[in-house]
């Protein structure tokens, strides 16, 4: 499946799941495996997403995953696939799902290490803007701040663009920082971070 038909499939699955989040079982009887089964459809059975513009969530920071699920439901972060999926999740579901994925090992997407020139440029941009001030040493993240190291390059480039255009509106602080950083620096950062 490619392109639109794949997207249509995923949307259909998402809608179906979202409308019947609890399926035929009461919520309490659903195991965490049941609750998270739909996620593998996009984010990958083995943690490697089916598309490069879909983020790795395996091994991501628990607080960050929870906040994104919460923001999708609140419509602070817009995504036509995620929104139906979260529509009937309660806060505890989101916490449980976030904890489940945070305990998974981060997959190796096989992205290449950035060249010295690109790395130097990325680190210089970091020194100027202060990314590691929140994303911490080695860009591992913590709590509600996401890990960037080894994330999909295409997903990060798209996210940066969405922050800049405010298409992603759930972190104005990040929007401000991305607007204050040059596109060349941002491209170097995506390349550098994906290769970590």
């Amino acid at each position: 499946m490619v392109g639109k038909s794949k997207r249509a499939f995923v949307v259909a699955v998402g809608l179906g799941f979202g409308l019947n989040f609890y399926g035929s079982l009461p919520a309490a009887a659903q195991s965490i495996e049941d609750k998270t089964q739909v996620c593998a459809g996009c984010h990958g059975q083995d943690g490697k997403p089916i598309d490069k513009t879909i983020p790795v969530i395996w091994g991501q920071q628990q607080g960050y995953l929870y906040i994104q699920l919460r923001d999708f439901k609140r419509n602070d972060r817009k995504n036509e696939i995620m929104q139906p999926i979260v529509s009937s999740m309660e806060r505890q579901d989101m916490m449980d799902i976030a904890e489940y994925f945070s305990n998974k090992p981060w997959p190796d997407l096989g992205q290449p290490r950035a060249s010295k020139d690109v790395s130097d440029r990325a680190l210089s941009a970091n020194h100027s803007v202060g990314c590691t001030g929140c994303h911490l040493d080695h860009f591992q993240g913590d709590g509600t701040v996401p890990r960037l190291a080894g994330q999909s390059r295409e997903y990060m480039a798209k996210t940066i663009a969405d922050f800049r255009s405010r298409a992603r509106g759930n972190n104005p602080g990040m929007t401000d920082l991305m607007l204050a950083t040059s596109p060349d620096d941002l491209a170097a950062l995506s390349e550098y971070l994906s290769g970590l």
Binding site: A98, S102, S128, G133, D137, T144, N171
Partner: protein
């Protein structure tokens, strides 16, 4: 993320050693692992009140309730400090930003690390006695590193505040949790990196969050039970103030008062999401039963368009009654701040010369602006401000979409680093940053507990950064001496009766200087940034200097995990 198998954790737990090495991530293990007990007698209030006179202990984050960071031990002095060498090193399990002030009582040392760990060590040998590994909640929201600046003890309880905004009381002997209280909701942007100040029956704590649209506070909790006693909100319901157009030094801040008044008429008083965190310990005047602290920046940092008015009491010195938490006086350094040049370095209570030359009780604060401010303790009024300790250019240029250059940069001047004082010399010692920055402004609505800077501050890559150690006479405002350093300074400084000051640099250098003239007398290379305030103490008749060397997140200095103690023989 490094993980050890369950088997190893159980075995290692049994012998009281944690072996899982953590880098940026905290170690995910059991809550506590104890190999022994800390043999320490209960710390009385009398001992704490007399902390400034104790050459043996180091009982409070900044030495004593006045926060002078002047230690009375004089065994190590200007003549023999060149013989100072490492006595021991303790390597914590957390290799991340280290800002702790080591506390020492009865030969037992208490230190904290990033992610709110607490260790009890034998102060003579550095051997671990116990380790509290705080079970952190999944939601933590903090801007500048997962730091922790230390504990305080009263009685047989050790108090620590955590990144997930809790206050925890531990048994000083064993590290067992005695009580835990929630301070505020991390999901709304609240967190803790400061050490508490404990006095009589109260634990005093401020909050982080000025970058997240919180409503800042200082809270007092019952020391025995953890019950909340009082809350002082640092942003009062009427926060607009007097519409000051000049800062404390008399410089014009280019405010458009009419535009702000128009905004006020439209949206009302912005106090509820106005920021005003309190990052550092208050000083306590035991004679008058009053506390003095400084309040951080308004939210969002760079964009003032949605927060009309002076934004009281952000960027201010504030004094409260200790028992009730009621307001006593304040002084605002910068009204309607747009540069994040807020007040963070903790206050110090010293006698100072008033405007008429008479000696009066004073309170001083070293600002991100680069000035040391000297106040009358009775009414918070400003007596004088010092010469600028760092270059100042284009002061109060308004941030723009394209970026506007101003010195100092947004970290200062003096950041959260505590100063030291030597009352005999009337000197205050401050460590400064020089980081040329461009200030950018962007407008966005309140983001529900997310980062809310209202723009960005960017270091200018083509302009060199630097730092300095400056001694200022607080009775004249003049700089007595200044040592320039190759990198911006953040951490802290200690003065001793041996005529020395000790401070460290991000490149790993830890040095002793003659406190009268700034001559460097000794140094050591620690291998990671020395970005923490040093302490001093005595065990078995021997004086030690101790400091953390773990680097810093905010200024990105090389990370480590060492606590290093030095002595003469």
């Amino acid at each position: 993320m490094n993980r050890f198998s369950i088997g190893c954790a159980a075995l290692c737990g049994a012998v009281g050693l944690l072996t899982a090495a953590a880098s940026a991530q905290e170690v995910k293990q059991e809550t506590k692992s104890a190999s022994g007990q800390a043999k320490v007698s209960p710390v009385t209030q009398q001992l704490l009140n007399a902390a400034d006179k104790s050459a043996t202990n180091f009982l409070l984050t900044n030495g004593n309730y006045a926060q002078t960071r002047f230690h009375p031990a004089k065994q190590i002095d200007r003549d023999n400090v060149k013989k100072l060498h490492v006595a021991w090193i303790f390597q914590t399990d957390v290799k991340e930003s280290l800002e702790t002030s080591p506390i020492v009582v009865d030969g037992v040392m208490y230190v904290t690390t990033s992610f709110s760990h607490v260790y009890a060590l034998d102060a003579k040998t550095g051997v671990q006695l116990w380790h509290y590994n705080h079970k952190m909640g999944p939601i933590t929201t903090y801007c500048c590193g997962p730091n922790n600046r230390g504990v305080q003890i009263l009685g047989d309880l050790v108090y620590v505040a955590t990144l997930d905004s809790k206050l925890v009381a531990l048994n000083a002997k064993t590290g067992d949790v005695v009580w835990k209280s929630d301070i505020a909701d991390p999901e709304l942007g609240y967190s803790e990196t400061m050490a508490p100040t404990v006095i009589k029956d109260k634990v005093l704590i401020g909050t982080n969050g000025g970058e997240y649209g919180i409503r800042g506070f200082v809270k007092a909790f019952d020391a025995k039970t953890g019950k909340l006693l009082w809350t002082f909100n640092t942003t009062p319901e009427s926060s607009v103030g007097v519409w000051a157009t000049k800062d404390a030094t008399g410089r014009d801040m280019h405010r458009d008062i009419q535009a702000e008044k128009d905004q006020l008429a439209k949206t009302g008083d912005p106090y509820q999401k106005l920021g005003g965190g309190v990052w550092q310990n208050p000083s306590v005047d035991l004679a008058t039963n009053r506390i003095y602290f400084v309040v951080g920046n308004p939210s969002p940092d760079l964009d003032g368009s949605n927060r009309p008015g002076d934004n009281l009491y952000t960027d201010s010195l504030v004094s409260l009654d200790l028992d009730t938490g009621k307001y006593a006086c304040h002084f605002q350094y910068i009204a309607h701040d747009l540069w994040d040049l807020d007040a963070v370095s903790p206050t110090v209570l010293v006698d100072v010369k008033g405007k008429d030359g008479k000696t009066i009780p004073g309170v001083i604060h070293a600002g991100k602006t680069g000035h040391i401010y000297v106040h009358d303790r009775r009414d918070c009024s400003l007596i004088r401000f010092s010469e600028a300790m760092v270059p100042q250019e284009n002061m109060w240029v308004l941030p723009t979409k394209e970026g506007a250059r101003m010195l100092p940069g947004a970290n200062g001047g003096v950041e959260w680093s505590p100063i030291a004082t030597d009352p005999e010399q009337s000197l205050a010692y401050a460590i400064n940053l020089h980081q040329p920055m461009n200030y950018f402004v962007e407008n966005s609505p309140y983001p529900n507990g997310k980062l809310w800077l209202g723009g960005a501050f960017k270091a200018i890559p083509t302009e060199a950064q630097a730092g300095n150690i400056t001694a200022v006479n607080y009775n004249t405002g003049k700089i007595k001496w200044q040592v320039k350093t190759p990198e911006p300074m953040i951490g802290g400084i200690l003065a001793t009766a041996g005529g020395l000051v000790f401070t460290g640099e991000g490149n790993g250098k830890f040095a002793a200087y003659n406190s009268s003239n700034g001559k460097e007398l000794w140094n050591f290379r620690a291998g990671a940034g020395v970005n923490a305030p040093p302490s001093s103490y005595m065990v078995g008749g021997k004086q030690y200097i101790v400091v953390g060397a773990g680097g810093n997140t905010q200024v990105d200095f090389h990370r480590g995990n060492n606590i290093i103690a030095f002595s003469l023989d």
